[in-house]
């Protein structure tokens, strides 16, 4: 699918949890080709902030030509804070769809594991899958997107403080609930991904796909900012580096070093 940089139009935006915003933006050319697990680069209107903010595609409405993005405001005076002030009708520069995305068509029961702000891409992934979804979400405390996820699979929650679901990590929840699957799809903080990789190895789940994060400048594979270590020599780079924005953000757990 051709990538484009366009001015999207905000359809609606609301806060769905403390510091978590839920934005629908009309961007037909991007929505048309978007796959679960892909992302878009968002650009601020602030002339002092030039780099893109990569945000995963949470949901796509192809008919309407719009995208749903769910993101966290990371602090004061950040780009995400600026996005959070956008209102219906405002424009938002964005580029996409970027990255490879999840292979949603794999047959078998899948564990869809999201941690914190890694949860949003699981919505579109769950929606696109034909087979059984077991959706495990890890939060610090406050939950979000559970209603959306429940439409597409059986949902399990872990919270650090135990306020909802299993107290502990997503792995704790998987073990507590005795969940079994053929496939793992995961997105979240690196420590969580590391734990999942270990768990998959021990549980013998060979189809384990992780969505990674790295700082980006171009988002299209040109600048080599966003690499992760790869186990084998990467074909493009000829070294043990893969580009998260281009070969990723989704990698087989076995091909990358976290």
């Amino acid at each position: 699918m051709k990538k484009e940089k366009i001015a999207g139009i905000i359809k609606e935006q609301k806060q769905i949890a403390t510091g978590i915003f839920d934005l629908w933006v009309t961007a037909p050319t991007i929505a048309g080709g978007a796959k679960p697990g892909q992302f878009v680069s968002l650009y601020t209107e602030d002339a002092s902030k030039l780099l893109p903010r990569p945000i995963s595609i949470c949901e796509v409405d192809k008919e309407d030509g719009s995208l749903r993005l769910v993101y966290r405001v990371t602090g004061a005076n950040t780009g995400t804070e600026q996005f959070s002030r956008l209102q219906k009708g405002d424009t938002l520069q964005l580029m996409g769809p970027l990255g490879n995305g999840f292979m949603s068509e794999l047959p078998g029961t899948a564990l869809l594991i999201g941690g914190g702000i890694g949860i949003p891409p699981m919505v579109e992934l769950a929606k696109n899958r034909m087979d059984k979804n077991l959706i495990v979400s890890g939060y610090r405390d406050e939950t979000f997107l559970q209603e959306d996820l429940e439409k597409y699979g059986e949902c399990f929650v872990a919270t650090e403080d135990g306020s909802v679901g299993t107290k502990g990590t997503v792995i704790d929840a998987i073990k507590a609930e005795g969940l079994k699957a053929d496939i793992i799809y995961a997105c979240g903080p690196t420590p969580m991904l590391l734990a999942i990789k270990e768990y998959a190895a021990s549980a013998g789940i060979t189809q384990c796909y992780l969505s990674l994060e790295e700082k980006m400048a171009c988002g299209v594979g040109a600048c080599l900012a966003c690499v992760c270590g790869s186990k084998e020599k990467d074909e493009h780079s000829q070294v043990h580096n893969k580009r998260v924005c281009k070969e990723g953000p989704v990698f087989s757990a076995w091909e990358v070093e976290l």
């Binding site: 002339a47 030039l50 080599l224 992760c228 070294v239």
Partner: protein
């Protein structure tokens, strides 16, 4: 039709606008956004004799009106470059400038020799990357080293050579004159300015490499100054860069004395920048009644 064509070291470019090394991959990545046939030249990411891993991540950070990078010249090496990247670029009606990097003089010479029989128009020699710990930076910050490596490369190069200068020096004209005296055919400037960013919450460096090269609009005034100084001090054609994001920026560099202009960081946030600059140059010639873009090179008074 007013002429946008310029000549750099005997090579005629259909217009002065090119891509800054390292910001446009091998050309392929941005070919979805830009018609490469429209560009004066594509300058490739730096290539070495063997593949380089580059630096650990984070490799970039945002700075006020710019960015900082410490990619560390990751590259697939000259073999794959010749087999894969060059043939891709050769499909287009644009000039090809290959950016060459190395850790030792021998590294540079090997790459330059390997490129000798390839369809490449110009070689840009990066002696100024601030992110490589061994070699690299030293060449570009000491006139004697610069002179030596320039002369050695010139001896083996089949294409004209452009020496790319570091701005992290006390006197840029001294470096430019050293390169000129040693046989350089053209000069590129500026490479990035060495900077640092600290994450105050983690009390740690924003880049794994601690320091990185600052680029983007923030550094433009420094780049324009250096281009002007070098244009006054040498007779070599100059490829000017550092923060070019609009046609006006590009014109500013040409008035200061640049024959070619490269767009770097701006590609990242506006992939259409090169085309916009080309169009803007044409309108400017129109507006001020210049027949050819060459009339504005160094025309500041």
């Amino acid at each position: 039709m007013r002429s946008l064509a310029v000549k750099i070291a005997g090579v005629e470019l259909k217009n002065p606008v090119m891509t800054a090394s390292g910001t446009f991959g091998s050309g392929e990545e941005y070919s979805e956004f830009v018609d490469l046939n429209k560009l004066g030249a594509v300058v490739t990411k730096g290539v070495a004799n063997v593949p380089w891993e580059g630096n650990p991540t984070p490799r970039i950070a945002e700075t006020y009106g710019g960015m900082m990078n410490a990619i560390g010249l990751q590259n697939p090496g000259i073999d794959v470059f010749i087999k894969r990247d060059l043939p891709f670029l050769q499909q287009f009606d644009t000039k090809i400038i290959v950016n060459v990097c190395g850790r030792t003089t021998e590294d540079y010479l090997e790459v330059v020799e390997r490129l000798g029989d390839e369809q490449v128009d110009l070689l840009e020699i990066n002696v100024s990357c601030p992110n490589v710990k061994h070699g690299g930076i030293a060449f570009g910050q000491d006139p004697a080293c610069l002179s030596e490596i320039t002369a050695k490369i010139k001896k083996v190069a089949k294409q004209p050579i452009i020496m790319k200068l570091s701005p992290n020096v006390t006197d840029i004209t001294e470096m430019a004159k050293a390169a000129e005296a040693a046989g350089a055919d053209a000069l590129s400037l500026i490479n990035t300015l060495t900077g640092m960013k600290i994450d105050i919450h983690r009390k740690s460096f924003a880049l794994a490499n601690k320091t990185g090269g600052v680029s983007g609009p923030a550094i433009k005034p420094i780049a324009v100054r250096m281009v002007y100084q070098v244009a006054q001090a040498t007779r070599l054609p100059i490829i000017g860069m550092g923060g070019i994001a609009t046609p006006e920026d590009g014109i500013e560099f040409m008035l200061a004395g640049a024959t070619g202009i490269s767009v770097g960081t701006a590609n990242f946030y506006n992939p259409q920048t090169t085309e916009e600059v080309i169009n803007g140059l044409a309108s400017y010639l129109e507006q001020y009644g210049h027949e050819s873009i060459e009339e504005i090179i160094g025309a500041v008074k």
